[in-house]
């Protein structure tokens, strides 16, 4: 239905373009006047007026229609005596009603369900009909309005440009809408989670085992259940695992990235630079699932073998394997950014240092790096934020059990791994377990936001100094 409507709107708009164009021409010839804009702008004007209000209306309508119909149907079903205790059962009944309507439901159909299915059909019909009527109403109204403007010899170009400018502005607002969407979707579920689990129990608990939290009704939780839940959602092992793996990753990425950045900026000939820089940047372009596969199937078992030959017990999902591979993935973030930052240190500083007899490495160590330090730290912080938000490598190579350990040969788990593990497969509605994933997401979002903010400030502030 919607696609037909969209198609009709497009056809309408296109024909209006030609109509507006020729109409404005006739007006100018018949009345022997020069219009305020070229004929095509009158065409554009009609197109914009015909399509935008109708499309926006259609979009808003389609977003809200299912929600409204659902709540009406569930309410009427309840009034007719359908019994459901919570949202899940209501959803189930609603799905049944929809299936009956489509003729795909195979179970027994009682009178209530049958009635509801009929009223569902009625509502769908009503909504679809009123949607069509309203859309055509809107189109006709806007055509009348815009045709009137042509007759009055409006300044169509200015109007068209104003509308387009509005469109441009609306496009840039999508970024804000996305941010709001992220914040609200994380916040709502997190608030539900924290209304069951105490924030302090979450932040300072040392035990993470959400699989224990099988609570049917989170809103009416008993004392005994809460005592059970209280230490199922301890955040400490996750943040410990996350920072531990990120730390190992940094041990790899910072020296390798920094030294290759320095080498490329200060020593390498243009030829070497031209070859090696893109190759190192390939590392950033490889999908993380590929790294995860490599870490899980090649590096993990390799470490295990090496460990066994030394008589060490190495878990095949180890923090070391995940951290090492993650470090390699991050090398280009450090090297490219620090290369840029070092390059923007003015040559005069180096020349000054050479003039008093310093060697190249002394100049780099004593002059260039200190001058570029804020930028370098910024690039390292950005890399840390990548590391803590990175998902696939740790999901595939780090392990699942929340283990408070500092032994890199053991398996450990991270925030992102747990989010994936909780949300894969069948999720229970409104259970603290599902909601805890959103609480973890919120924590991750805030942590990366802070890191990025500091990093961007550091990089920017430093750059301004020499520009």
């Amino acid at each position: 239905m919607n696609s037909v409507l969209i198609f009709l709107i497009i056809i309408f708009s296109l024909s209006l373009f030609f109509y507006g164009k020729s109409k404005s021409k006739t007006i100018s010839i018949n009345n022997n006047i020069k219009l305020n804009a070229l004929p095509k702008f009158y065409g554009y004007y009609l197109v914009l007026w015909c399509s935008i209000p109708a499309l926006v209306f259609l979009l808003v309508w389609s977003l809200f229609e299912p929600v409204i119909i659902k709540s009406i149907i569930i309410d009427t079903a309840a009034n007719q005596g359908a019994i459901f205790n919570d949202k899940n059962e209501a959803n189930l009944i609603y799905e049944k009603i929809k299936a009956i309507h489509l003729g795909t439901y195979l179970g027994d159909i009682d009178s209530i369900l049958k009635e509801s299915a009929l009223s569902y059909a009625k509502f769908i019909n009503l909504f679809t009909n009123s949607k069509i009527v309203l859309i055509f109403g809107i189109i006709i109204a806007s055509i009348i309005y815009s045709l009137n403007k042509i007759k009055n010899n409006n300044k169509a170009r200015d109007d068209v440009e104003l509308i387009l400018k509005g469109l441009l502005f609306a496009s840039s607002l999508i970024a804000i809408l996305t941010t709001l969407g992220i914040i609200f979707s994380l916040l709502f579920e997190s608030i539900k989670f924290f209304s069951v689990i105490n924030v302090f129990d979450y932040l300072f608990g040392t035990n993470w085992s959400p699989q224990r939290a099988f609570v049917r009704d989170a809103s009416a939780i008993t004392e005994a259940e809460y005592a059970e839940l209280k230490d199922a959602f301890g955040f400490i092992p996750l943040i410990a695992g996350t920072s531990f793996i990120a730390f190992i990753a940094m041990l790899v990425a910072v020296p390798v990235g920094l030294f290759s950045g320095i080498y490329m900026a200060e020593y390498a000939s243009i030829k070497i630079r031209r070859v090696s820089k893109p190759i190192i940047e390939i590392l950033a372009g490889i999908p993380t699932v590929v790294y995860g596969f490599f870490a899980a199937l090649t590096v993990g078992p390799f470490f295990r073998q090496v460990g066994e030959s030394f008589g060490l017990s190495v878990s095949s999902e180890s923090a070391l394997a995940a951290g090492l591979i993650m470090g390699i993935m991050i090398i280009p973030y450090v090297s490219s950014l620090s290369d840029d930052v070092i390059n923007s240190v003015p040559q005069s500083l180096r020349d000054g240092s050479y003039a008093i007899g310093a060697t190249k490495s002394e100049t780099i160590k004593k002059v260039v790096i200190p001058a570029a330090l804020p930028g370098i730290i910024g690039s390292i912080l950005l890399a840390v934020s990548r590391a803590i938000g990175e998902t696939m490598i740790v999901v595939m190579a780090a392990g699942l059990a929340a283990n408070l350990t500092i032994n890199p040969l053991e398996s450990t788990t991270t925030i992102t791994t747990q989010i994936v593990m909780i949300l894969v497969g069948d999720q229970e509605f409104d259970s603290p377990k599902t909601q805890s994933a959103f609480a973890l997401g919120l924590t991750l979002f805030i942590a990366t936001l802070i890191l990025n903010y500091i990093a961007q400030r550091a990089v920017k502030k430093y750059r301004e100094k020499y520009d």
């Binding site: 804000i176 320095i262 372009g285 090297s335 696939m392 989010i419 990366t448 936001l449």
Partner: protein, 420 residues
Amino acid sequence: MTKEERLKKRHSAEKRFRFYGIVSIFVALLFVLILVHNIFSKGSSAFMKTAINVEVFFDPELIDVQNGASIDEIMQSDFFDITIETLLKTYPVNDFDQENELIDLFTTDAELEIKRALIDNNNLIGKRINLEITASDDIDQLHKGNYPRDLPEDRRRISNFQLQIYDTLVENKKIVKNFNNYFFKNGDSRDPELAGIGGALVGSFYSIIICLLLAFPVAVLASIYLEEFAPKNKITDFIEININNLAAVPSIVYGLLALQILLATIQLPRSTPLVAGITLALMTLPRIIIPCRASLKAVPPSIREGALAVGASKFQSVFHHVVPLALPGTLSGTIIGLAQALGETAPLILIGMVAFVVDIPSTPIDPSSSLPVQVYLWSESAERGFVEKTSATIMMLLSFLIVMNFLAVYLRQKFEKRWN
């Protein structure tokens, strides 16, 4: 310490420092090599499959269709007996156990392959032909040399009797290697010899197209607004900060956003390229806006002023002059953004793209997989055959990425204008 010694020390420190730099670059390059080599050596064999040459007699007694039967009739009729008959003829067996072991050498889809032979040539009934039936995964791996023959029998999935059949078949040149068309044509399967990336390819294609259609126009319009029209005020500052932050938000957070808003609130269908495309578009948006703005900024003001001087409006100067000049840079930024979106896995897992989907999606609202998710799914499978399938999928994924990146570099170099 004398002056000379000190100088010597300083010079050797210089050499050391330089050496560290070379080592670092070398380590990074070495890793690229190891990774690529590892993937290619594991994955290249997946493009071939092992088949066993058998003689099929389309015995009219055993099948209930005649010559000239339609495809539907053939697909619906029972070819089980003729399949078993055919397979058992490949090697003399004595008892039921041995029969089972012999049949296990072939793929579970042998019946379908015989049907297809009949569909391809519809007057075979009553005739004998030679047909290459796909071997089971274990035989496939054995023939490719990936299977450890020297393990004791009870730790092998292939019995000694099966090895014996295999060796005889090899001697009689009955075992052949074919191009593995299943890998590109089929959807996912529990049997490695039948599993393919057809479904994942289509799913990825739909997702990326939807992502492009949503992200590209919005990103270009937003960049034009911010770069050309936006007044310098609090609102535009705020938008700008937002875009920079969004570019750095971990991808999994977008998965949570999609789960909550697209699936739970708007109730779009789960596991579909539509939802994947929208999620990826939201994620890609800031990654396109940033390079797009940079290329708009690189167009010198003289172009704009020239247009304005001959009486163009602000809009005309931007859309007729600045945007076309900035287009190559914009496009190359878009392609790189899409390449990143193509490899993205974590948010797709959260919106349910990890469901086991056998059918190849025909529309963007059918459940489907995508290439990176297929890599993730297969990497968790225990069968040995999936390791090469996974690596081969990675090879496909990487080759798409390389093509996209080359395209981006080409666009930039071919159309880039130097203004000074």
